[in-house]
């Protein structure tokens, strides 16, 4: 076994351990801030796996989009909604966890059985390595052009939708008619439904 092969195997084992332990931490840890940082670690390890698979462009995209955008967004959401609250105990919660754990273990066994028993038709072609970026660009602008354009529309819709859903400021005049808006209604709609305090009007 050459030194390159053994290095590759060591990298795979280390990255796989990080991925599995990190995702277990994401799911099981009590403090959600730790979970969010562990999630960033899992994303970085997955990017390392992509590098092992000779896909440098997708690894860079993974780091940029997942670690740079999604993880930071999750951290901001945690800071916005972070409130220490004691969750109401629910009866049968332990039973529910054990049952769903059994179901997930069954699903895992099924997936691994498919993984092992299927005769994969592995092609012996050489990997194209650094040319992968050019090839992805060719795909995006020839045979995957329609999904590419749809993805841009989807991103625009997601951006506008997120702003509309999450914004807090209110309009003072109705856009359609120009009349002043009934501010009481707006205040009412932005106060929590379940808080026990007298309504503002």
């Amino acid at each position: 076994m050459s030194i390159a092969n053994s290095t590759e195997i060591i990298c795979f084992v280390v990255l796989g351990t990080i991925v599995v332990l990190g995702s277990l931490g994401v799911v099981l840890l009590e403090n959600i801030v730790y979970s969010a940082f562990l999630l960033g670690g899992v994303f970085m390890a997955v990017a390392g796996l992509y590098l092992l698979l000779n896909a440098s462009f997708v690894a860079a995209a993974q780091v940029l989009v997942y670690v740079g955008a999604v993880n930071v967004l999750i951290l901001f959401a945690i800071m916005l909604v972070n409130k220490r609250e004691t969750l109401k105990p629910i009866k049968g919660l332990r039973f529910r966890k054990i049952l769903s754990g059994g179901i997930c273990a069954g699903l895992l066994a099924l997936l691994i059985r498919v993984d092992i028993t299927t005769p994969w038709s592995i092609t012996k072609s050489i990997s194209i390595g650094e040319q992968a970026t050019e090839r992805i660009g060719e795909h995006l602008f020839t045979d995957y052009l329609l999904p590419f354009e749809l993805a841009s529309v989807l991103l625009l819709m997601a951006m506008i939708g997120a702003i509309v859903l999450a914004r807090r400021d209110v309009l003072t005049t109705d856009i359609g008619t120009g009349d002043s808006v009934n501010q009481g209604l707006i205040e009412k709609s932005s106060t929590p439904l379940l808080i026990d305090k007298p309504s503002p009007d």
Binding site: V42, V46, V65, C104
Partner: protein
């Protein structure tokens, strides 16, 4: 052109890792009571799918790396999903003053 090194890690190893990650994500999705953690579990499952796509692209697809193109699309959709999901979560938090999944039953009864 330099000699490309022989790939020593089998495809099954990547699929094994991806299935473990997916099952952890499913368990977290079912059992989390914090809504932010539910979104994190969804991201874990999407990453498992991405590992699968990349492994198939590298081992089965040869020079046409269509799996990598699909992975790029999945990353795009995941970013949009995270943005909209967290906006919905903020708006729910404003209405309910909690992130407990058990108290989000406005549409149930």
């Amino acid at each position: 052109m330099p000699e490309t090194p022989l790939i020593t890690i089998p495809l099954e190893a990547y699929l094994f890792l991806a299935s473990i990650l997916f099952c952890i994500g499913v368990w977290g999705l079912i059992n989390s009571r914090n809504a932010v953690r539910v979104l994190m579990s969804i991201e874990l499952m999407l990453n498992a799918v991405n590992i699968n796509l990349m492994a198939f692209s590298s081992f089965l697809d040869g020079e046409l790396i269509r799996g990598q193109v699909f992975t790029v699309f999945v990353i795009t959709v995941a970013a949009a999903e995270a943005a909209v999901g967290l906006a919905i979560l903020l708006s729910l938090y404003r209405n309910r003053v909690t992130v407990d999944m058990e108290s989000f039953n406005l549409l149930r009864w």
